[in-house]
């Protein structure tokens, strides 16, 4: 592309927006070092690493994190399995109702979370089901299915069907073909769907708020605490999770980059 003397404008703009995106993150991290004891953690009082040395001080935080981890794992696992099956059907078979299914799968993603959450609550109220742990899991599976389909489908669309046909020609049955040939090829997509579902579930507040009863997930805890002042340990945990996931992402990127380089060599 042609580059003019004003070529610095766009990169400068890009960095500005990225800094803007990170601004609240920096604020939260900074206030994990704020020297306060109770009340609202909004005014800078001085530097301390006290809260980092005592992350387990507020038991509710740890408990809510545990609850969220379990819910995220369960809902992402179930939604990934259901979504992968749907994606396989949509990409590899032509059948009546295929395009209707496509539109239908799009609908939950196009429905605002408030409506998803409140309509599920309407169902639970009518059936007199008490909301709690399992209703949260049900809701999270629901909103994760469509995303899982989209993620896995993007991965399957590109792959070479001839490999499967070769296996079938060599007298492998369908299950073995799936296990030995198809699954390894779509595995990156399946894992991506699981991770996306996990992240969406772990951070969901709006839908959970309608279906959680008295169960406190991590976002529900933060929401409740925001009324009476968030303990700085919340900032500590948020920062720690952020650092861990960031490191994981970068490692993943490096591995993928190396793999790409290696397959380019061959």
């Amino acid at each position: 592309m042609r580059r003019s003397r004003s070529g610095w404008v766009l990169p400068a703009y890009m960095w500005l927006v990225l800094i803007y995106l990170f601004l609240p993150v920096f604020v939260v991290i900074a206030f994990s070092f704020n020297d306060i004891n109770r009340g609202f953690n909004v005014v800078w009082q001085g530097f301390t690493i006290r809260h980092w040395l005592d992350p387990f001080r507020v038991p509710d935080i740890v408990e809510s994190l545990g609850t969220s981890l379990v819910i995220a794992f369960l809902s992402a696992a179930v939604a990934t399995v259901l979504g992968t099956l749907i994606a396989l059907a949509l990409v590899r078979y032509r059948f009546r109702g295929r395009s209707t299914t496509n539109v239908f799968l799009f609908l939950p993603m196009a429905t605002p979370e408030v409506v998803l959450g409140s309509s599920l609550l309407a169902l639970f109220i009518t059936l007199r089901v008490a909301t709690g742990f399992w209703t949260i899991v049900i809701a999270h599976i629901l909103f994760n299915i469509s995303y899982a389909v989209v993620t896995v489908r993007a991965r399957i669309t590109g792959f070479d069907r001839h490999l499967e046909e070769a296996a079938m020609d060599l007298y492998s049955d369908e299950w073995n073909t799936f296990r030995r040939v198809t699954l390894p090829m779509i595995l990156p997509g399946v894992l991506a769907a699981f991770m996306l579902g996990f992240a969406l579930s772990f951070d969901d507040f709006i839908i959970t708020n309608f279906n959680s009863g008295t169960v406190q997930t991590w976002p529900m805890y933060v929401w409740g605490a925001s009324r009476r002042g968030i303990p700085p340990q919340v900032n500590v945990w948020a920062t720690a999770i952020f650092i861990l996931t960031t490191v994981a992402m970068f490692v993943n990127l490096r591995i993928q980059g190396r793999r790409a380089a290696r397959s380019a060599d061959v």
């Binding site: 990225l18 295929r98 799968l105 309407a122 169902l123 996931t245």
Partner: protein
């Protein structure tokens, strides 16, 4: 998106025919578990919501289904301001987010060079931070004694006792911040797919860079603009967190009324009617938007 199956080889055997019949049943078996789940926990709840919106009664006496359309007329009278505000805030958020995100996506796609994936990672990294914590942080940034408000007051953009928190501006600012990555990512994806030779061809044919952008780049990036806008507009119209954390009750949106009536006041029929209306309103908003930008491949 159509994926062709490999054409059947000539002269197939009876066994292959049997396998073919079996194959025909496979897709439905694959679809069944997921679609059943969506039917029970997505379709039926929506009907339940509509049904609840047509009932009358209260928590103690119970609710009776009686085609009570008053719950819906009430939405357009009592809650008209909230309904309009939801739509206006959602549209404003979408426009502002688009204006910020497009040049960003463009910069990453065309100036990112070999660091493109690093910049993408930077764009998505803030999402690893809890959504509520990031929104709460804006309370500190936009605080009355904060740098932002002080500066705006000093340069006269805000009156000396003016504030940002608890205004519609703070709510829209929060929404823009929350959905920026979801707008930028699809735009980046569609920009990145563009064959550079098309733009070079336009340049070779003495088009100015601006014309090349308007006639080649922009139209080719429209699918990304549309999906980004939907990813912003739909959740923004239904949001209640930003009003709750950055605004005040005077900026209440539909989502606030729904959550308040479902969880605090316990007025199920009214809450259901508002929630259902919100969904219909958003569907209409999305359809109008997609029509006006002009594309039909919404789903694929």
């Amino acid at each position: 998106m159509t994926v062709e199956l490999a054409p059947p080889p000539p002269g197939r055997s009876a066994a292959a025919d049997r396998a073919e019949t079996r194959r025909r049943r496979v897709p439905y078996l694959l679809l069944a578990p997921g679609l059943v789940w969506l039917f029970i926990f997505y379709v039926i709840p929506l009907f339940q919501l509509l049904r609840m919106a047509l009932t009358t009664g209260n928590l103690q006496a119970g609710y009776v289904f009686d085609w009570v359309w008053e719950n819906f007329t009430q939405v357009f009278t009592t809650y008209q301001p909230q309904l309009l505000r939801s739509l206006v805030f959602a549209l404003a958020t979408t426009m502002i987010t688009l204006l910020i995100a497009y040049p960003l996506a463009y910069a990453i796609a065309f100036r990112g060079g070999r660091y493109q994936s690093l910049f993408l990672l930077l764009l998505l990294m803030p999402l690893l931070f809890p959504f509520l914590m990031r929104t709460l942080a804006w309370r500190i940034i936009l605080a009355d004694q904060g740098v932002v408000v002080q500066t705006l007051q000093n340069i006269g953009l805000l009156p000396s006792n003016g504030r940002l928190l608890a205004t519609g501006w703070a709510v829209v600012a929060g929404l823009v911040y929350n959905f920026l990555p979801f707008m930028a990512l699809p735009i980046y994806v569609s920009l990145e797919k563009i064959d550079n030779r098309l733009i070079e061809a336009a340049n070779d044919l003495y088009s100015t860079p601006f014309t090349a952008f308007r006639k080649v780049t922009l139209p080719l990036s429209m699918p990304g603009v549309i999906s980004g806008s939907l990813l912003t507009m739909i959740p923004a119209a239904g949001d209640y967190v930003n009003v709750e954390l950055l605004g005040n009750p005077q900026q209440a949106m539909m989502g606030n009324v729904v959550q308040n009536k479902f969880l605090n006041i316990i007025d199920y029929p009214a809450a259901a009617a508002i929630s259902f209306t919100l969904m219909v309103a958003i569907v209409i908003l999305v359809l109008v938007y997609v029509r006006s930008v002009g594309t039909e491949d919404l789903v694929a």
